[in-house]
């Protein structure tokens, strides 16, 4: 349906991450009548933070469907639809709710194509939002990509930019596999250039978000934003870090990371989730397996601390890593990092607004 190119020749303009999601859904649904959107709130006035806005008016309630609170059952229903020629997009306002549907996702969606020897496909997209800050607390602020990235048969994508989220959502919907599409809530208001026309971004490619020769940062989703903020300021102090936006947690594209590490010899991995058996450890392990001799220092991981997310802003204050955490980690890895004015650099990347919101415009509840 869409041209294969990445939309380069199409006119583009600045829109937000959330608007880019909406545009991908509108355009995909307009072209392919098999595409459906199903979820709690997809047709309500808040329309999943406006990412499904106007869909029900345009495509009708058969294709844009509110659902009962029944995450496992409705995931199964969507798998049944997908086996019957539809391309459902199931939406969970928080990824935490998807824990109710692990059986259908892991036992069925991930395995049916395989076990039935290719005679069945499950073209299902599950959009899941990661919450953070402003009192989300332990059951509404998990970043559970690792659980899905462990499972063969699934694809797990976590786009960072408005450009990528549109292109990758279109790719995900067109993909014949179950795609876990993980959106970080703090990215929703992020603006960026997005081509008007439909286009695809591949689901198996990492990308260099900022190049540099001193240190390699492998990251994705919201942590890419923090990394870039750190990189900008560090550059003014002569430190050029290469920020690689992994974009996909399964299948993972290690090529740009390995290429970069071979030059920099230093690796820092940033994650939005926990460390233990997480995506960050997987990246470290793969780099070590393939580029061991190029590493001049042990790689470092920045992840959530190893406990549930507290609710109070006073307790979350340093629960979530940010640009400042990144700066400190980078300095600790550099050969002469201690010579740089750490506090001065941190000062410059430090958020002046409260740390439990991405920016002052962001007010609760949500």
């Amino acid at each position: 349906m869409h041209s294969d190119e990445s939309g380069k020749n199409s006119q583009s303009r600045e829109i937000t991450y959330g608007q880019a999601i909406l545009e991908a859904l509108h355009q995909t649904m307009a072209v392919d009548p098999a595409v459906m959107v199903i979820g709690e709130g997809v047709a309500d006035p808040k329309s999943i933070f406006k990412t499904t806005d106007g869909l029900v008016e345009k495509f009708g309630p058969d294709r844009v469907t509110e659902m009962p609170l029944a995450e496992n059952g409705m995931t199964g229903v969507c798998i049944g639809l997908a086996m019957s020629g539809f391309r459902p997009v199931l939406v969970h306002q928080r990824i935490d709710f998807a824990l109710l549907s692990m059986d259908q996702i892991i036992n069925n969606a991930a395995k049916l194509h395989y076990v039935f020897n290719g005679q069945v496909t499950v073209p299902l997209v599950v959009r899941m939002l990661v919450g953070r800050g402003w009192g989300q607390g332990p059951q509404h602020a998990q970043s559970l990509q690792a659980l899905f990235a462990h499972i063969p048969g699934l694809k797990v994508v976590m786009p960072t930019t408005p450009h990528d989220v549109k292109g990758m959502l279109i790719s995900a919907i067109e993909d014949n596999n179950p795609v876990m599409f993980i959106e970080h809530r703090w990215l929703y208001n992020l603006k960026g250039d997005v081509p008007k026309e439909p286009y695809r971004v591949p689901l198996d490619r990492a990308v260099v978000a900022k190049s540099g020769k001193d240190l390699t940062v492998a990251t994705y989703s919201h942590m890419t934003i923090e990394a870039i903020a750190a990189a900008r300021v560090l550059a003014e102090y002569g430190v050029e870090i290469e920020v690689i936006d992994m974009r996909v947690a399964r299948p993972m594209d290690m090529e740009p990371v390995l290429t970069s590490v071979k030059i920099t010899g230093k690796l820092l991995v940033l994650d939005t989730g926990w460390a233990s058996c997480g995506v960050s450890g997987e990246i470290v392990a793969r780099v070590v397996e393939s580029a061991f001799k190029y590493l001049s220092k042990p790689p470092l991981r920045i992840t959530l601390p190893d406990h549930p997310a507290p609710t109070s802003q006073h307790l979350t204050d340093d629960y979530y890593p940010d640009a400042e955490t990144v700066v400190n980690a980078v300095l600790s890895l550099l050969d002469d990092g201690e010579k740089l004015p750490a506090e001065e650099i941190c000062q410059r990347v430090r958020r002046t607004s409260l740390r439990d919101i991405p920016n002052p415009a962001y007010v609760g509840p949500f």
Partner: protein
């Protein structure tokens, strides 16, 4: 054990409701300050259910709640001070700031747990009720949940097991016809939820949740049955949520439900209904209402004071209690 007479104890029921109403109004009034930095799901308009149910419970009976549990917590005797402090994320909050509005606990009052995953506490309550039965304690376990929660498979699993083992547990369905902004008819076919509970072998009751006396009366019957070994009871109460799903504002402007006029609400106000009865049957006058308002407002004021006097939890303590 507590046994309330819904006819004679109306003043206590009214007090319980008023306490919830004024506490939540105070939250709503200050919520825009963005200092209660967590989602709040207010139950204004729905107080009759919490008050009417919990009036029948002893301290040793346990209550489990959900995302919208200020009322359940307060009606069960939970500390207002520590609830407000919790919403403000303070060290003296009932969860030490770890939980916020959506996670509440007061063990000393028999309020066992509220958590926000829909359906999350339903089987916990069944387990707690089973524990009573195994220990041969004559207590009951109670779980509050919404009409949306009824759709979760775990409810079916919980009802089946409770009926199988004749567990003393009360399933309280607060049917406000809404799950967030999605109306009941978009989520369930037109048949009563009580029919399903009954088919599972539960005793069922259906009542007007805005009539606190009716709630108390039906619950009293159900609690008595459960205590004497008749097993699980299912009570559905129809009610109406006045404010938006989350947050402090009326959200009529969104246009997701039909009639949100002030009159529509007032006609369903559990406090108003009980108040009229107090005037008529109990001879209450302005003075009586004013005196109660004063008591309640003082408690509410004191709670906000308690909260602001409470220290912030120490950031370095955030990893405590990861493990027991």
């Amino acid at each position: 054990m507590n046994k309330i007479d819904s006819t004679t104890d109306l003043p206590a029921l009214y007090h319980s409701m008023l306490r919830i109403r004024r506490a939540e109004e105070a939250i709503a009034m200050r919520y825009h300050e963005q200092e209660m930095r967590c989602p709040v799901h207010l139950c204004i308009g729905e107080e009759g259910i919490a008050a009417g149910v919990c009036a029948n419970l002893a301290v040793e009976d346990v209550v489990y709640g959900n995302h919208r549990s200020h009322g359940h917590y307060l009606a069960k005797g939970g500390s207002l001070n520590t609830m407000i402090a919790e919403i403000y994320g303070k060290a003296d909050g009932c969860c030490g700031g770890r939980g916020g509005s959506m996670h509440l606990i007061d063990n000393s009052a028999g309020f066992a747990a509220a958590v926000p995953i829909v359906g999350g506490t339903v089987p916990l309550a069944v387990g707690a009720g089973w524990a009573f039965k195994l220990k041969q304690q004559k207590n009951v376990s109670v779980v509050f949940f919404g009409d949306g929660c009824f759709e979760e498979g775990v409810l079916h699993e919980a009802m089946n097991f409770a009926a199988l083992k004749k567990i003393p547990v009360l399933f309280i369905c607060e049917n406000n016809g809404m799950s967030v902004y999605t109306s009941l008819d978009q989520r369930q076919p037109g048949r009563p939820m009580t029919g399903i509970a009954k088919a599972h072998g539960l005793e069922v009751y259906s009542g007007d949740g805005n009539d606190v006396q009716e709630v108390a009366r039906l619950t009293s019957e159900a609690v008595a049955k459960s205590r004497r070994g008749d097993g699980p009871q299912f009570l559905e109460f129809r009610t109406y949520r006045w404010l938006g799903h989350v947050g402090h504002e009326v959200d009529d402007d969104l246009g997701y439900r039909p009639d949100e006029s002030v009159e529509f609400r007032e006609a369903r106000c559990p406090l108003k209904k009980a108040g009229a009865e107090l005037i008529e049957k109990f001879g209450w006058g302005d003075d009586d209402f004013a005196a109660l308002e004063k008591t309640v407002n003082q408690e509410v004021k004191a709670a906000f004071k308690f909260s602001s006097a409470s220290p912030d939890p120490k950031p370095e303590s955030r990893g405590d209690y990861s493990y027991a």
